[in-house]
Symmetry: C2
Subunit: 127 residues, 2 copies
DNA sequence: CGGGATCCGTTCCGATACTG
DNA sequence: CAGTATCGGAACGGATCCCG
C-alpha cells in the first residue's frame, strides 16, 4: 500500500507532492462534483447535461468533462446517428467516488440552515 | 424538513437557487477542505496553518479562514499575548463535515493509482 | 505574530461565432 | 447535436511592503 514513492504519509497530507492533494485539487472546482452527481443514475447526453447543470457554459462543460474523462471517472461514447449523439456516463471508478459525493450533498442538505444562520450572524456583527 | 422555501427538491439539486449547491460552491475551492482537514484534531495558529498547508499564501489563507468562519465552520480565538496569538478551530458544525472530508481524502488515497494510470493512458492516446 | 493593502500576472469564464 | 476557436472582462492568486 505504501510502496509508491509519491504517496504521502498520513502526517503529510498537506504537502504539495501528496497525490491525495492532487486528486483533491482536481475535484475541488465549481462543476466536477455536480456533473458527476448528475451522472450518478444514468448516462446523459451533452446538451441535456448542459441544461440540467444550471449555469454552466458549454465551454466549461466541455472542458470539465474532458478532465473527468482523463481522470478515468467518466466515459464518453459516441453514437453514429445523424446528428451525432454523445453519451457521458460514470466509470466503475467514478461510481465509487459518487458515494462520497452524495454524502457531501447530504451534509449540505441537512446543514444549509445552520450555515445560512451563521452567515447572517457574521454579517450582522461585521456590519 | 422541506418547509424552507429556498430548499431544492431532490430532482433539482442542480438548480442555481438550490442551497445545497450554494454550500457546495463555497467548499469547492482549492483550500477550504484542506484547511478543515488540518483543523480536524486540534486548534492551530495562523502561521502554523500557513506552514502546514503547503503552498498557500498568507493572503489566501486569511481570506479562506474568514469565509469558513462566516459559514460557521471555524472559530477564531484571539489571545492577548505579546505578540498576539490567534487560534483557529473547527466548530461543532465543522466537525460534522470533517467526517465527509475524511472519506473524500480516503477515496483519493485509495484510488490515486487508478487516476494516475487513467491519465497516462488518456495522454498516450491523445498524443 | 497575525494579519491588511497594494500591485500585478495568470487563469477562469461567459458571450459570440463557427463547424462537422 | 456536440462541440471548437477566439476575445475580453472578472476573479484568483502570488509577491511584496507595511502595521499593531
Amino acid at each position: 500500500m505504501m510502496e509508491t514513492a509519491t504517496r504521502c504519509q498520513a502526517y503529510n497530507v498537506f504537502s504539495q507532492a501528496c497525490p491525495t492533494r492532487m486528486v483533491l485539487d482536481r475535484l475541488a472546482d465549481k462543476w466536477s462534483l455536480l456533473i458527476m452527481d448528475r451522472l450518478r443514475d444514468e448516462p446523459v447526453r451533452f446538451n441535456q447535461l448542459r441544461r440540467d447543470v444550471e449555469g454552466i457554459s458549454q465551454k466549461v462543460l466541455s472542458q470539465t468533462l474532458k478532465k473527468l474523462e482523463r481522470d478515468g471517472l467518466v466515459t464518453r461514447q459516441v453514437f453514429a446517428t445523424v446528428p451525432v449523439t454523445v453519451e457521458y456516463a460514470l466509470t466503475a471508478l467514478g461510481h465509487t467516488l459518487s458515494n462520497t459525493i452524495e454524502s457531501l450533498a447530504h451534509w449540505a442538505e441537512h446543514n444549509i440552515d445552520s450555515v445560512l444562520a451563521a452567515q447572517r450572524e457574521y454579517d450582522a456583527v461585521n456590519a
